[in-house]
Symmetry: C2
Subunit: 213 residues, 2 copies
DNA sequence: CAGTGTGAAGTTGTTCACAGCA
DNA sequence: TGCTGTGAACAACTTCACACTG
C-alpha cells in the first residue's frame, strides 16, 4: 500500500469508499461468470469510469495486482468485503417503523452487508408489540432497558420533526453511529458517526440533470 | 444570481444540489415554528455547516437575501422546491417489486417530492397482477404496450444481475432517466440521466468512519 | 505491450477575507 | 454590527503522463 495514496488524516476519500461497493457488485457478477483474473482497465471499461481511478481506489486496500494479469477475482472480493466492513456483522436498532422503516426491516440485503437490525422502536400503538421479519418492535420508551453496549448503530427513519430529538436520546444511551434517512441534518457530538442518506437528495440531483440535459 | 457562481457548463455542483433538500427540510421546520426570516448564518449554525457554503448554495437559485435580515422563509421554501423540481410531478415506472421495490411503492414521501409511480413491473407471478398502494403491477413483458411518452423516469430495484439488461430495455423504450438502486453501475447512452442510489455504498462509508474514529 | 502504480497537472468544490449595506 | 455576496486562496478529488514490470 502506497503512502502517497493515503490522505494525511489517513482516511480513505469518501468518493472512493462509495465506489468500492460498485466494484464489489461488479466483481461478484464477474465471478459468477467464472472469471479468474480481472484488470482495472477492464473494470473501468465495463463500468464506464476512469481506469486510473479504479487502480487508485483498489490501492487503498491491501491487494496488489499483477502486471499484465491484473487482480485475482476471488481474493479481491474477499479483501474488498473485509475492507468495507461487510464481513463482520454489526447490530443495529431501527427507529421509526413508518413506510421506509418497514422497508428496511424487510430488506434482506442489509444483513448480507454486515448490518443486522435486532430491534425496532416506534410510538405508534398500531405497530408496537408486533414483529417484522423476526424483528420485535418496542415502544420508544423501552429503549432505556436495552443493552446499548453491543448495539452501536441507530437507524433513523422517524419523521423529520422528531429526528434531532431521537438522535439526542440515542447519543445519551451511547450509540456510536447514526444512519440518518431523514432529510434534516442532525447535530450530535462529533465523535458519533453520522451517515446521511436522504432519497430525496438524490431525486433532486436527478431532476436537475434532467432539466439541464 | 452571480455569474462567477455558475460553472462553465452551467451546472449546479452536485454537492450543492444534495445539500438543498436539507435546507428545505430545515426551513419547513422553521416555518412550522413561525419563523418569518432566516439567515445563512443561522441555518449554518443549526445544521453545523459553513455559513458561506449556505450562501453560495442558495445563490444558485433566484432568491436574494436582505442584508441584516436574511431571507424570507416562505418564498425561500417555494423557490427551493421549484428549483429542485419538487413542485412538478413526474411519472415513473418501477422495475423489480422485491423488498426495496415494495418499500418505495409504500413510501408516500416520493409523491410529495415530485415523483409519482404509475406502474410497477416484475416477472414473479406472485406479485404480477396485484396492486400496491393503488399502483398496478404488470409483467415485465407488458412494458412494450405502455406509453413511454409521458413516463420519463424508470426506477431500478431489480436484482444486480438483471440491472443492465432491464436498463437496456428501458433505454430502447425511450426512458429519459434511471434511478438505479442496485449497487452495480449501469452503462447507458449518455443522454440518459442515471442516478445511482445504493444503500450499501452509504453503509460502507459509515463502517469505515466508525473504524477510523 | 497491456497492465500496475505513482507523482504531477488539472479540475472541482470549500473556506477565507473582505467589500457593501442597512 | 450582523448580514449578503463575491473574488481569491486553499483543499480535495480526478485525470494525465510516464516509469516499471513480466
Amino acid at each position: 500500500m502506497s503512502l502517497t495514496n493515503r490522505k494525511k488524516n489517513n482516511q480513505v476519500p469518501e468518493p472512493a469508499l462509495r465506489r468500492m461497493p460498485c466494484y464489489l457488485a461488479y466483481l461478484k457478477l464477474a465471478q459468477k461468470e467464472g472469471l479468474k483474473h480481472i484488470s482495472s482497465t477492464l473494470i473501468a471499461r465495463d463500468m464506464g469510469v476512469d481506469p486510473t481511478q479504479v487502480t487508485k481506489d483498489l490501492s487503498y486496500t491491501s491487494i496488489v495486482g499483477k502486471t499484465r494479469v491484473g487482480y485475482e477475482v476471488v481474493p479481491l472480493i474477499q479483501v474488498l468485503e473485509d475492507f468495507l466492513g461487510f464481513t463482520v456483522v454489526d447490530e443495529a436498532y431501527l427507529f421509526g417503523v413508518g413506510s421506509l422503516g418497514k422497508a428496511l426491516l424487510h430488506d434482506h440485503g442489509l444483513k448480507q452487508f454486515g448490518l443486522k437490525v435486532v430491534a425496532a422502536f416506534d410510538v405508534d400503538p398500531e405497530v408496537v408489540g408486533k414483529t417484522i421479519e423476526g424483528v420485535p418492535i418496542y415502544h420508544f420508551e423501552e429503549l432505556a432497558t436495552m443493552r446499548a453496549e453491543t448495539v452501536k448503530i441507530g437507524i433513523l427513519t422517524v419523521p423529520v420533526d422528531k429526528a434531532q430529538e431521537v438522535a439526542n436520546r440515542l447519543v445519551e444511551v451511547g450509540i456510536k453511529a447514526l444512519w440518518n434517512f431523514t432529510p434534516v441534518r442532525i447535530k450530535v457530538d462529533e465523535r458519533v458517526v453520522v451517515q446521511n442518506t436522504s432519497l430525496y437528495a438524490h431525486l433532486a440531483v436527478m431532476f436537475n440533470r434532467m432539466k439541464a440535459d
